[in-house]
Protein backbone atom coordinates (compact mmCIF):
# COMPACT_ATOMS: atom_id res chain seq x y z
CA UNK A 1 0.00 0.00 0.00
CA UNK A 2 1.45 3.28 -1.08
CA UNK A 3 1.40 6.59 0.72
CA UNK A 4 2.19 8.46 -2.48
CA UNK A 5 1.96 7.64 -6.19
CA UNK A 6 3.30 9.88 -8.92
CA UNK A 7 3.49 9.83 -12.72
CA UNK A 8 6.17 12.08 -14.18
CA UNK A 9 6.37 13.06 -17.85
CA UNK A 10 9.54 12.60 -19.85
CA UNK A 11 10.19 16.34 -19.51
CA UNK A 12 10.22 15.77 -15.74
CA UNK A 13 7.03 17.54 -14.72
CA UNK A 14 4.26 15.72 -12.86
CA UNK A 15 1.34 14.36 -14.82
CA UNK A 16 -0.29 12.93 -11.73
CA UNK A 17 0.55 12.99 -8.07
CA UNK A 18 -1.55 11.63 -5.24
CA UNK A 19 -0.65 11.27 -1.60
CA UNK A 20 -2.41 10.30 1.59
CA UNK A 21 -4.08 13.39 3.00
CA UNK A 22 -2.71 12.87 6.50
CA UNK A 23 0.77 13.94 5.51
CA UNK A 24 1.98 17.24 4.15
CA UNK A 25 1.56 17.06 0.38
CA UNK A 26 4.51 19.33 -0.21
CA UNK A 27 6.81 16.88 1.54
CA UNK A 28 5.78 14.14 -0.88
CA UNK A 29 6.18 16.42 -3.88
CA UNK A 30 9.71 17.10 -2.68
CA UNK A 31 10.46 13.41 -2.11
CA UNK A 32 9.26 12.56 -5.62
CA UNK A 33 11.25 15.42 -7.08
CA UNK A 34 14.49 14.32 -5.45
CA UNK A 35 13.89 10.73 -6.55
CA UNK A 36 14.05 11.90 -10.17
CA UNK A 37 17.81 12.40 -9.86
CA UNK A 38 18.20 8.81 -8.74
CA UNK A 39 16.04 7.64 -11.65
CA UNK A 40 18.19 9.55 -14.15
CA UNK A 41 21.30 8.01 -12.64
CA UNK A 42 19.89 4.50 -12.86
CA UNK A 43 18.81 4.74 -16.47
CA UNK A 44 22.03 6.33 -17.66
CA UNK A 45 24.27 3.71 -16.09
CA UNK A 46 22.01 0.93 -17.38
CA UNK A 47 23.24 1.69 -20.89
CA UNK A 48 26.69 0.38 -20.04
CA UNK A 49 25.48 -2.57 -17.99
CA UNK A 50 24.20 -5.98 -19.09
CA UNK A 51 20.91 -6.72 -20.76
CA UNK A 52 19.21 -7.56 -17.47
CA UNK A 53 19.53 -3.91 -16.47
CA UNK A 54 17.20 -3.02 -19.29
CA UNK A 55 14.18 -3.82 -17.18
CA UNK A 56 11.57 -1.13 -16.80
CA UNK A 57 11.34 -1.69 -13.04
CA UNK A 58 14.12 0.18 -11.25
CA UNK A 59 13.58 -1.14 -7.74
CA UNK A 60 14.27 0.75 -4.54
CA UNK A 61 15.54 4.20 -5.42
CA UNK A 62 16.44 5.32 -1.93
CA UNK A 63 15.25 4.91 1.63
CA UNK A 64 14.56 7.81 3.94
CA UNK A 65 13.91 7.70 7.66
CA UNK A 66 10.18 7.23 7.25
CA UNK A 67 9.77 6.09 3.66
CA UNK A 68 11.01 3.88 0.88
CA UNK A 69 10.86 5.18 -2.68
CA UNK A 70 10.54 2.86 -5.69
CA UNK A 71 10.85 3.75 -9.36
CA UNK A 72 9.89 2.51 -12.83
CA UNK A 73 10.53 4.04 -16.23
CA UNK A 74 8.55 3.18 -19.36
CA UNK A 75 10.06 3.06 -22.84
CA UNK A 76 8.33 6.35 -23.47
CA UNK A 77 10.47 7.83 -20.68
CA UNK A 78 7.51 8.33 -18.36
CA UNK A 79 8.43 7.70 -14.76
CA UNK A 80 6.29 6.16 -12.07
CA UNK A 81 7.26 6.70 -8.44
CA UNK A 82 5.71 4.86 -5.51
CA UNK A 83 6.42 5.89 -1.93
CA UNK A 84 5.67 3.45 0.86
CA UNK A 85 5.94 3.70 4.61
CA UNK A 86 9.23 2.29 5.96
CA UNK A 87 7.41 0.54 8.75
CA UNK A 88 5.52 -1.50 6.18
CA UNK A 89 8.00 -4.38 6.08
CA UNK A 90 5.49 -6.92 4.84
CA UNK A 91 5.44 -5.33 1.38
CA UNK A 92 7.41 -7.62 -0.94
CA UNK A 93 9.27 -6.77 -4.12
CA UNK A 94 6.84 -8.55 -6.39
CA UNK A 95 3.93 -6.70 -4.81
CA UNK A 96 5.62 -3.43 -5.72
CA UNK A 97 6.27 -4.78 -9.22
CA UNK A 98 2.61 -5.63 -9.62
CA UNK A 99 1.64 -2.13 -8.50
CA UNK A 100 3.87 -0.70 -11.21
CA UNK A 101 2.41 -3.10 -13.74
CA UNK A 102 -1.09 -1.87 -12.88
CA UNK A 103 0.07 1.72 -13.17
CA UNK A 104 1.66 1.03 -16.55
CA UNK A 105 -1.43 -0.73 -17.86
CA UNK A 106 -3.72 2.09 -16.75
CA UNK A 107 -1.34 4.68 -18.09
CA UNK A 108 -1.32 2.96 -21.49
CA UNK A 109 -5.12 3.08 -21.46
CA UNK A 110 -4.99 6.80 -20.70
CA UNK A 111 -2.58 7.35 -23.61
CA UNK A 112 -4.97 5.57 -25.96
CA UNK A 113 -7.97 7.57 -24.79
CA UNK A 114 -8.88 10.01 -27.58
CA UNK A 115 -9.90 12.63 -25.03
CA UNK A 116 -6.45 12.65 -23.51
CA UNK A 117 -3.84 14.95 -25.01
CA UNK A 118 -0.35 13.60 -24.30
CA UNK A 119 1.47 15.91 -21.90
CA UNK A 120 -1.66 17.04 -20.09
CA UNK A 121 -2.32 16.21 -16.44
CA UNK A 122 -4.11 12.88 -16.06
CA UNK A 123 -7.73 13.37 -15.16
CA UNK A 124 -9.11 9.94 -15.92
CA UNK A 125 -11.46 8.65 -13.25
CA UNK A 126 -10.53 5.08 -14.11
CA UNK A 127 -6.91 5.92 -13.40
CA UNK A 128 -7.90 7.61 -10.14
CA UNK A 129 -9.76 4.58 -8.87
CA UNK A 130 -6.90 2.24 -9.80
CA UNK A 131 -4.54 4.44 -7.76
CA UNK A 132 -7.01 4.70 -4.85
CA UNK A 133 -7.06 0.94 -4.64
CA UNK A 134 -3.32 0.83 -4.10
CA UNK A 135 -3.05 3.65 -1.58
CA UNK A 136 -3.21 3.40 2.15
CA UNK A 137 -6.81 3.95 3.16
CA UNK A 138 -6.99 6.66 5.78
CA UNK A 139 -10.04 6.65 7.99
Amino acid sequence: MAVCVAVIAKENYPLYIRSVPSQSELKFHYTVHTSLDVVEEKISTAGKAMAEQRELYLGLLYPTEDYKVYGYVTNSKVKFVIVVDSSNTSLRDNEIRSMFRKLHNSFTDVMCNPFYNPGDPIQSRAFDSMVSAMMVQSS
Partner: protein, 164 residues
Protein backbone atom coordinates in the same frame (compact mmCIF):
# COMPACT_ATOMS: atom_id res chain seq x y z
CA UNK B 1 -8.60 -21.63 -42.16
CA UNK B 2 -10.94 -19.68 -39.87
CA UNK B 3 -8.02 -18.01 -38.09
CA UNK B 4 -6.59 -16.93 -41.45
CA UNK B 5 -9.88 -15.27 -42.36
CA UNK B 6 -9.99 -13.47 -39.05
CA UNK B 7 -6.51 -12.06 -39.68
CA UNK B 8 -7.45 -10.89 -43.14
CA UNK B 9 -10.67 -9.31 -41.89
CA UNK B 10 -8.64 -7.47 -39.26
CA UNK B 11 -6.33 -5.95 -41.81
CA UNK B 12 -9.02 -5.24 -44.36
CA UNK B 13 -10.99 -3.30 -41.76
CA UNK B 14 -8.09 -0.95 -41.11
CA UNK B 15 -7.37 -0.55 -44.83
CA UNK B 16 -10.98 0.29 -45.68
CA UNK B 17 -11.23 2.69 -42.76
CA UNK B 18 -7.94 4.32 -43.75
CA UNK B 19 -9.15 4.80 -47.32
CA UNK B 20 -12.43 6.28 -46.13
CA UNK B 21 -10.60 8.69 -43.81
CA UNK B 22 -8.56 9.88 -46.78
CA UNK B 23 -11.67 10.41 -48.93
CA UNK B 24 -13.35 12.23 -46.06
CA UNK B 25 -10.43 14.55 -45.34
CA UNK B 26 -9.95 15.12 -49.06
CA UNK B 27 -13.54 16.16 -49.62
CA UNK B 28 -13.45 18.45 -46.58
CA UNK B 29 -10.62 20.44 -48.16
CA UNK B 30 -11.27 22.54 -51.24
CA UNK B 31 -9.21 24.93 -53.29
CA UNK B 32 -5.65 25.09 -54.56
CA UNK B 33 -3.93 24.09 -51.35
CA UNK B 34 -6.20 21.12 -50.81
CA UNK B 35 -3.60 18.47 -51.30
CA UNK B 36 -1.14 20.00 -48.83
CA UNK B 37 -3.68 20.54 -46.07
CA UNK B 38 -5.15 17.09 -46.61
CA UNK B 39 -1.74 15.52 -46.24
CA UNK B 40 -0.95 17.43 -43.03
CA UNK B 41 -4.29 16.56 -41.46
CA UNK B 42 -3.69 12.89 -42.18
CA UNK B 43 -0.13 13.11 -40.90
CA UNK B 44 -1.30 14.69 -37.63
CA UNK B 45 -3.90 11.98 -37.17
CA UNK B 46 -1.19 9.39 -37.66
CA UNK B 47 0.98 11.20 -35.12
CA UNK B 48 -1.54 10.93 -32.30
CA UNK B 49 -2.30 7.30 -33.14
CA UNK B 50 1.43 6.53 -33.26
CA UNK B 51 1.90 7.94 -29.76
CA UNK B 52 -0.79 5.72 -28.30
CA UNK B 53 0.24 2.64 -30.29
CA UNK B 54 3.87 2.83 -29.24
CA UNK B 55 2.83 3.09 -25.59
CA UNK B 56 0.89 -0.14 -25.98
CA UNK B 57 3.52 -1.96 -28.04
CA UNK B 58 6.46 -1.12 -25.77
CA UNK B 59 4.65 -1.90 -22.55
CA UNK B 60 6.30 -5.28 -22.14
CA UNK B 61 9.54 -4.83 -24.07
CA UNK B 62 12.96 -4.24 -22.56
CA UNK B 63 14.40 -0.74 -22.49
CA UNK B 64 15.91 0.35 -25.82
CA UNK B 65 19.69 0.54 -26.00
CA UNK B 66 20.01 3.36 -28.53
CA UNK B 67 18.52 5.07 -31.58
CA UNK B 68 19.32 2.18 -33.90
CA UNK B 69 17.60 -0.20 -31.50
CA UNK B 70 14.50 1.99 -31.68
CA UNK B 71 14.59 2.08 -35.50
CA UNK B 72 14.94 -1.69 -35.66
CA UNK B 73 11.92 -1.98 -33.38
CA UNK B 74 9.93 0.24 -35.74
CA UNK B 75 10.99 -1.86 -38.73
CA UNK B 76 10.27 -5.23 -37.16
CA UNK B 77 7.82 -5.28 -34.27
CA UNK B 78 5.95 -2.05 -34.94
CA UNK B 79 5.55 -2.65 -38.66
CA UNK B 80 4.47 -6.25 -38.03
CA UNK B 81 1.87 -5.21 -35.47
CA UNK B 82 0.37 -2.61 -37.77
CA UNK B 83 0.93 -4.05 -41.26
CA UNK B 84 1.46 -7.75 -40.58
CA UNK B 85 4.86 -7.68 -42.24
CA UNK B 86 8.30 -6.24 -41.55
CA UNK B 87 10.10 -3.47 -43.34
CA UNK B 88 12.07 -5.12 -46.15
CA UNK B 89 15.18 -2.99 -45.94
CA UNK B 90 16.61 -0.47 -43.47
CA UNK B 91 19.47 1.78 -44.45
CA UNK B 92 21.18 4.51 -42.47
CA UNK B 93 24.04 6.92 -42.84
CA UNK B 94 24.65 6.59 -39.09
CA UNK B 95 24.18 10.33 -38.85
CA UNK B 96 20.49 10.47 -38.13
CA UNK B 97 19.00 9.58 -41.50
CA UNK B 98 17.18 6.26 -41.95
CA UNK B 99 15.46 4.92 -45.05
CA UNK B 100 12.83 2.25 -44.51
CA UNK B 101 11.90 0.35 -47.61
CA UNK B 102 8.68 -1.57 -47.91
CA UNK B 103 8.46 -3.42 -51.22
CA UNK B 104 4.81 -4.23 -50.85
CA UNK B 105 3.28 -1.55 -48.67
CA UNK B 106 -0.08 -2.82 -47.44
CA UNK B 107 -1.89 0.46 -47.88
CA UNK B 108 -0.82 0.78 -51.53
CA UNK B 109 -1.34 -2.77 -52.81
CA UNK B 110 -4.99 -2.10 -53.64
CA UNK B 111 -4.19 1.04 -55.61
CA UNK B 112 -1.99 -0.22 -58.43
CA UNK B 113 1.08 -2.25 -59.33
CA UNK B 114 2.90 0.32 -61.40
CA UNK B 115 2.60 3.98 -62.11
CA UNK B 116 -1.14 4.32 -62.21
CA UNK B 117 -2.57 6.62 -59.50
CA UNK B 118 1.00 7.60 -58.52
CA UNK B 119 -0.05 11.22 -58.02
CA UNK B 120 -2.47 10.13 -55.28
CA UNK B 121 0.11 8.13 -53.35
CA UNK B 122 1.20 10.97 -50.98
CA UNK B 123 -2.26 11.03 -49.40
CA UNK B 124 -2.08 7.30 -48.79
CA UNK B 125 1.31 7.57 -47.13
CA UNK B 126 0.66 10.61 -44.93
CA UNK B 127 -1.04 8.76 -42.09
CA UNK B 128 1.77 6.21 -41.89
CA UNK B 129 4.41 8.96 -41.87
CA UNK B 130 2.60 10.47 -38.91
CA UNK B 131 2.36 7.06 -37.29
CA UNK B 132 6.13 6.66 -37.38
CA UNK B 133 6.76 10.25 -36.27
CA UNK B 134 4.30 9.88 -33.37
CA UNK B 135 5.76 6.58 -32.28
CA UNK B 136 9.30 7.95 -32.34
CA UNK B 137 8.24 11.12 -30.57
CA UNK B 138 6.79 9.18 -27.66
CA UNK B 139 10.06 7.25 -27.40
CA UNK B 140 11.88 10.54 -27.03
CA UNK B 141 13.07 10.83 -30.64
CA UNK B 142 12.14 13.96 -32.57
CA UNK B 143 12.03 13.42 -36.31
CA UNK B 144 10.69 14.40 -39.68
CA UNK B 145 9.21 11.53 -41.67
CA UNK B 146 8.57 11.71 -45.39
CA UNK B 147 7.70 9.08 -47.96
CA UNK B 148 8.24 8.56 -51.63
CA UNK B 149 6.92 6.13 -54.21
CA UNK B 150 8.23 5.54 -57.68
CA UNK B 151 6.60 2.22 -58.52
CA UNK B 152 3.61 0.99 -56.53
CA UNK B 153 3.28 -0.75 -54.17
CA UNK B 154 6.91 -0.30 -53.13
CA UNK B 155 7.70 2.81 -51.13
CA UNK B 156 10.43 4.35 -49.02
CA UNK B 157 9.98 6.18 -45.73
CA UNK B 158 12.73 8.57 -44.85
CA UNK B 159 13.25 9.40 -41.18
CA UNK B 160 15.41 12.42 -40.33
CA UNK B 161 16.27 12.54 -36.66
CA UNK B 162 16.22 16.05 -35.23
CA UNK B 163 18.87 16.69 -32.65
CA UNK B 164 17.26 18.60 -29.78
Amino acid sequence: PSVFIADMADEALFQFLHNEVIQYVNSAESGETENGRCVSKLENMGFRVGQGLIERFTKDTARFKDELDIMKFICKDFWTCVFKKQIDNLRTNHQGIYVLQDNKFRLLTQLSTGKQYLEHAPKYLAFTCGLVRGGLSNLGVKSIVTAEVSVMPACKFQVMIQKM
